[in-house]
């Protein structure tokens, strides 16, 4: 655990020296600051304990567990189709994306594959979840730094995306739409044209935020060179998604693995940034949201006709075996390790959620930063409590 950057080592030594000196002369001492579990900047009930020396963090630790719902245990008493209801609630801002890797793992064990149209619609809804999820993140960033306007813009435009998801699936937040072998239903009439309009609008939203937020001097000075994570540290902690790409690692599960989804049918760019700071993480997410709207447009152009459900038995029994499938979810790599014993339900499901790894780096990255930066760093790492605690 000696992976401290030079800057962190220096600040750590300085903090200790300051502590020792001040203790004698001014009778001051370090202090422990508790942030949360109920705090506007924590996106839910994450608690952070920070040991401070003046304004500098000497040591910090996130304390999760206020929202642990035990989904891994609950999956063991559910049948395979029932599990999607639970896992919808892991990352509640991008629910449909949670269902996909589990369904793909079950399909891999059953050796069934969804028909092409279902694969396309799955991918479209997956990307819409990403736009809804990351769009809210982009707006929320402003609030963390005292700018109130972006969050209103984000809620205003996210509503259109949620309406699309609701139109196709019937659920705004928890679609529960993915089935083993395909989808519950086909798209409603007029949905495709509506989606094209909304994608245009979301691109405008991205432009608007880029001007308003990313061009803002306060935003830049609060995030540039703050919370730098080098690529090797990021990988050893298992950071994924935009957090990893912002450290210069060019890895995207949409492009880099063969899945029965439609990402290989479209052109898109995987954005990376060499800096690894808070600004890079936010910037990569902004670019990805824009890229997602283009993916959706291309998929709508190529949407094949046909059924949306493969032939599967009425009673789903998954053959014995083990499968691991992960996808590039809005928050990062999300995967399910599914163990089946040939029963109606899974024997064990290990849920690998992105935020759990993404936030476990906090105690490393928060060493040596100043108190206001705690908020921006955590915001830029972007976690959702349900995705940490499961």
């Amino acid at each position: 655990m000696t992976m401290l950057s030079e800057r962190q080592q220096l600040s750590y030594i300085a903090a200790q020296a300051a502590d020792a000196r001040l203790n004698v002369e001014l009778e001051t001492e370090g202090m422990t600051l508790n942030i949360g579990p109920q705090h506007p900047a924590t996106h839910g009930t994450l608690r952070i304990i920070a040991r401070l020396d003046g304004e500098q963090v000497v040591w910090a630790e996130p304390v999760p567990g206020y929202m642990h719902r035990g989904y891994e245990k609950l999956t063991e008493v559910r049948t395979f189709p029932q599990v999607t209801t639970l896992i919808n609630r892991i990352d509640w801002l991008g629910s449909f994306a949670n269902e996909v890797p589990f369904i793909l793992a079950a399909e891999q064990l059953m050796e069934v594959e969804a028909p092409p149209r279902a694969q396309y619609i799955r991918t479209i809804l997956f990307e819409l979840s990403r736009i809804a999820n990351v769009g809210l993140f982009l707006g929320d960033l402003g609030v963390q730094m005292g700018a109130v306007t972006p969050v209103f813009l984000a809620f205003r435009d996210r509503e259109h995306v949620l309406n699309l998801i609701e139109g196709a699936t019937g659920g705004r937040f928890h679609p529960n739409f993915d089935r083993i072998g395909g989808l519950k239903d086909d798209l409603p009439a007029g949905w495709v044209a509506e989606t094209r309009q909304v994608m245009k609008r979301m691109r405008m939203f991205c432009d608007e935020l880029e001007d308003l937020l990313f061009g803002n001097e306060i935003f830049q000075s609060r995030t540039r060179n703050v919370g730098v994570i080098p690529a090797d540290v990021a990988k050893s902690y298992g950071l994924s998604g935009a957090n990893l790409r912002a450290s210069g690692v060019d890895w995207d599960l949409r492009r880099d693995q063969a899945l029965p989804m439609a990402w290989d049918k479209v052109d898109f760019k995987v954005w990376t940034h060499p800096d690894g700071d808070s600004w890079a993480r936010c910037w990569v997410r902004l670019q990805e949201t824009r890229e997602s709207t283009k993916i959706v447009d291309q998929l709508l152009d190529g949407l094949p006709a046909g059924p949306v459900m493969a032939k599967v038995p009425r009673i789903i029994k998954v053959p014995a075996g083990e499968a691991w499938v992960s996808t590039e979810n809005p928050l990062g790599e999300m995967g399910y390790y599914v163990v089946s014993k040939g029963d109606l339900g899974p024997f064990r499901v290990k849920i690998r959620s992105a935020s759990f790894n993404n936030i476990s780096i906090a105690s490393w990255v928060l060493k040596g930063v100043y108190v206001p930066d705690i908020i921006t760093i955590l915001a830029s790492l972007y976690f959702i409590l349900g995705d940490i605690d499961r």
């Binding site: 063991e76 008493v77 902690y237 060019d250 038995p313 083990e322 691991w324």
Partner: protein, 224 residues
């Protein structure tokens, strides 16, 4: 690292077999078994002693992205799914330990996954957990194993030698028992009979299931 480093094609099985060969060279008898699903995934099983060395060997081979670490309890639950009618005397369920792919000799196994982000494939590593329930820690190789080992400790009661701080991550400090073990009852299913016992849709009969494969359209689902 830039895009030019990325290979054009997705990894083939030759790459995965190469990993097994390299592990055999590094660990010797420590590598017990491997399981390859063509074009899909690779599993290896190592001995308890070789657990930490396997991490170091894989990291040296380029698997420097830590995905997850957890444990498996291969004993079937003695409580079933908690969906039985409480008025009916039930037969005791089998609690025979049956391991999964790559086999196993113990009730508990730890398993972890690491990924090579340059060559775009991952490997799942398993190891038997001895009766002392103590395993070497992966933290020297992967700092991210810290939280995963804490979670595995509180959920399965497996300790990791060399872990700096095995406090509970989720549960209150005084919580007793290890919830993800199969013999830990799911209390919400114990205190109240499963409502599905009385509120059931008629299941399609066996004959229909045999022929088949009726397409599950939403109309059928709704009307049943």
């Amino acid at each position: 690292m830039d895009a030019a480093d990325a290979p054009a094609a997705l990894p083939g099985d030759a790459l995965r077999e190469g990993v097994v060969e390299r592990l055999r060279a590094d660990l010797g008898a420590g590598l017990i078994d491997s399981h390859l699903v063509p074009q899909t995934d690779l599993w290896v099983r190592v001995s308890t002693e070789a657990w930490a060395d396997a991490a170091a060997s894989l990291k040296a081979q380029g698997f420097d992205y830590f995905c997850f670490l957890s444990a498996l309890d291969w004993m079937p639950s003695p409580y079933g799914k908690g969906e039985d009618d409480p008025t009916v005397e039930k037969e005791p369920l089998s609690t025979e330990v049956v391991p999964g792919v790559t086999g196993g000799d113990t009730r508990f196994q730890v398993f972890a996954r690491v990924t090579d982000v340059r060559r775009h494939f991952g490997v799942t590593v398993k190891a038997d957990v001895p009766d002392t329930l103590e395993m070497p820690s992966w933290i020297p190789s992967f700092a991210g194993a810290n939280w995963h080992e804490r979670e595995t400790h509180e959920m399965f009661g497996i300790t990791f030698a060399g872990h700096p701080d095995l406090r509970n991550l989720y549960l209150p400090g005084e919580f007793e028992g290890y919830p993800l073990r199969k013999d830990f009852p799911l209390l919400s299913r114990m205190i109240k009979p499963w409502p599905g016992i009385v509120d059931v849709e008629p299941m399609p009969d066996a004959a229909e299931e045999e022929d088949g494969t009726a397409e599950a359209t939403p109309e059928e689902g709704g009307a049943a």
